[in-house]
Symmetry: C2
Subunit: 464 residues, 2 copies
């Protein structure tokens, strides 16, 4: 179905990109053979590091003509294997296209290249009093292009909405090498099928994003952060819904199981004491322009938490304490990864179904013999389930566990949810797609794929 | 290409829907032959008024088999001719599917049928302290299904985001009669191509929406409303951007030209005095939970407006005065329509380009011999341009004017905008699509259409 990259094809690549930005050495390729998903390794045959949309277009045209698979890659921080070159071929790394091209303070928009690190964009606009609110846990290293391609979320979605609300327009290279802008630089858009929205979450299978126009908003002046301890996962999760029912919309509402927090404390050598009877924790942030108003909201939150037998509420008193608490949450994935062999599932359900989901996860774990560490964006009903290998046999881990994951997703779907909230399908979830979608639904998606990429050269082996 | 509805086909319809909900009488059909777009009339051959997704599916299957065009129709309040049966065939009216099926206060979601009037939904959730914020000017009569299909907006998008942020999941009947749910009832979704987003703004060309799950948010307790008068359109539009640059996000920021306001006063027999030198007006709303905080924001707005030589700021002092000012804005389209033969264009540009856009509109008008009344959602850069026939000859109105509209859209696009912000393409804007899109871009859209509707039975003659 696909061709290999021959010397002749390499020479064609070298006609359109500097040879020092075309990597073929195995040692160099090794850096591009994995992402943050489990321990997968797939080597591309070559890696190109373009510096312009025209270079991408020229490379893609060659691959299109010669049926070479193309895998676009951001920072390689993905958790679904989406940037793995499972069919070999050419990888196109976006790391050189890392410029913030414009911050338009008149229109509250920025135009960026896909290789801009999310936090770099956030800091650049913050200096102008503006907020780009979509901050995945990996914001310090992930690229905005990857965030767009995987519909990445993070803690602030609960108040500010998903990345879909912040991407106004995309410049993309299509699989045949043509370059289009998908939309317009406007807040409203009702001009035919919305290709901007179609590209968000398409995992690089329809085209390669080479510029994005993002919406910015005024940055709230103040925020307050609470860290609350609970006797059980269920009580913590029930408190989450109760906060919203009080009419409060926190700017973040994160859930963490004790084991996750304890492992972070160990991994990071922190001196942070957890109450002995605390089994679960919520990290709750509110933001706005008036501190006295936020204090009032925190009191309301505190009153609400008491109904769920909250053991203790720690009120972050300084910027550094806030930073420490956020670090605790953000480093959790890395800490779990360093401690145990694991698989991470990105479940999402309607918010009030969280207690049922978490009970179900533990029940499935008991039946299949795995422990799990759960944490995530409880305000969105988005729970990251880290399944630990522990004492499981290799056979159970590699084979029987799939049945357990299948049960987990069946539960998620039964509760009104889906199989990924913000990590994408990529390589690792694709076998579970038929749980969520009817054959016709999958055919429609594949039909769209064929419209854009009839030879299926772009990121093959993903989603479907 | 299409077949007519014969007696045999009517009999097939009658096997799946009560004959009293299948209209064929010309007098009855007349009610379904027009929408709010100019003075178009296209008669469907029959109108079905289904009461369930299964009835829709059964009707569509017959039409699919026999190549009968199908035009879905909401309340007929559209402004782009999208619900006109330009190829005859069967119209499917959604007026009987008007139930709010569930308001889920635990998850802040509602499940509705497509024929629910937008304001009915808003009031029902408001009684529970919740807000569904997407309120087009026609909210008192338009249907939520039409809002979704046309990406309808309204004044609150500026703070709360577009309808895309509030539609979580759709049940749709596909052109072959199969029924699917497009997504999940979750705030985050990264599970393959997002068909929910694809259906939003697809103008009923890909499938017929038969249920929607919408996101709700806590309703702010307070709001304040200002009505500001300016010497010129440009000064009013410049003030719009300045408000955002102060870090303020109003919950509505509407622009109105003097002529539009004057016509409303005449049409509605209002006793409302406009300052003689006032040429343009802004209606500015802020909302939140703390009245003192909102008062402070209004003072900031007031200070900002002074820099743009604002003549006067009226502060609405009662609920009834607020309602009167909002009525002034909402009834403007109807008032203009009652007064003059007109065409309405739904321009949208980045917000700071509004002064340039409005100068350009007047300049084009001078060259083509038309006057215009402009008003709209200035906070979104979304300006409705009502072109008045006035003394234009029929030939100029029907033919030469097209060139003027073309120039208007070229300007819009040059400023980073597009040809419709919230009304859709429908019948009347489709000839201007090539101004915005390359041939390849249009081919991609048409390719998507063919994946869903290979026989092109659904709402033919629209968008493309």
């Amino acid at each position: 179905m696909y061709n290999k990259i021959t010397i002749d094809i390499l020479n064609l690549f070298k006609q359109v990109i500097d040879s020092n930005r075309l990597l073929v050495d195995t040692n160099q390729l090794a850096d591009y053979a994995h992402d943050e998903t489990e321990d997968f390794h797939f080597f591309p045959e070559a890696v190109a590091l373009p510096e312009s949309p025209d270079e991408i277009a020229a490379l893609i045209k060659i691959c299109h003509t010669h049926r070479i698979p193309v895998t676009p890659r951001g920072a390689g921080t993905g958790l679904s294997g989406g940037s793995l070159a499972v069919h070999g071929g050419l990888m196109i790394g976006m790391e050189r296209m890392n410029q913030i091209l414009e911050i338009d303070e008149q229109n509250l928009q920025a135009t960026v290249e896909p290789g801009v690190i999310t936090e770099v964009l956030m800091q650049a606009v913050a200096e102008k009093g503006l907020l780009y609110p979509v901050d995945p846990a990996s914001k310090g290293s992930c690229f905005i292009g990857g965030n767009i391609s995987y519909g990445s979320g993070g803690p602030r979605v609960v108040k500010y909405g998903t990345i879909r609300e912040y991407i106004l327009n995309l410049q993309v290279v299509l699989p045949n090498g043509e370059i289009i802008w998908t939309g317009a630089n406007t807040l409203k858009y009702a001009s035919g099928y919305n290709l901007t929205q179609l590209f968000i979450g398409a995992e690089g299978t329809l085209g390669i994003i080479c510029k994005a126009v993002v919406k910015l908003i005024p940055k709230p002046a103040e925020n307050l952060l609470l860290f609350a301890s609970f006797r059980s996962n269920e009580l913590a999760c029930e408190a989450v819904s109760a906060i919203f029912r009080k009419g409060i919309v926190p700017s973040a509402l994160e859930f963490m199981e004790r084991k996750g927090v304890a492992w972070v404390i160990e991994h990071e050598h922190l001196t942070f004491n957890l109450m002995p009877e605390a089994e679960a924790f919520l990290l709750i942030e509110v933001d706005g322009n008036q501190l006295d108003e936020l204090m009032r909201v925190c009191e309301q939150i505190n009153d609400t938490l008491e109904h769920y037998h909250c053991l203790d509420v720690l009120f972050a008193e300084s910027a550094s304490q806030k930073e420490s608490l956020w670090h605790l949450r953000r480093i959790m994935g890395v800490s779990v990864k360093s401690k145990a062999i694991y698989k991470e599932e990105d479940t999402v359900v309607p918010r009030a179904a969280l207690p049922t989901l978490i009970r179900g996860i533990k029940d499935i774990g008991q039946r299949y013999g795995f422990e799990s560490v759960c944490y995530g964006h409880a305000g969105d009903g988005n729970l990251h389930v880290n399944i630990l290998k522990g004492e499981m046999s290799a056979d159970d881990w590699n084979n029987r566990l799939k049945e357990g994951i299948r049960e987990l997703f069946e539960l998620t779907i039964k509760l009104g949810g889906t199989i990924s909230g913000e990590h994408g399908i990529g390589l690792v979830q694709r076998e579970y797609m038929p749980l969520k979608y009817t054959p016709l639904h999958l055919e429609l998606m594949q039909g769209i794929k064929k419209v854009f990429d009839p030879h299926q050269i772009l990121n093959p082996g993903k989603i479907f």
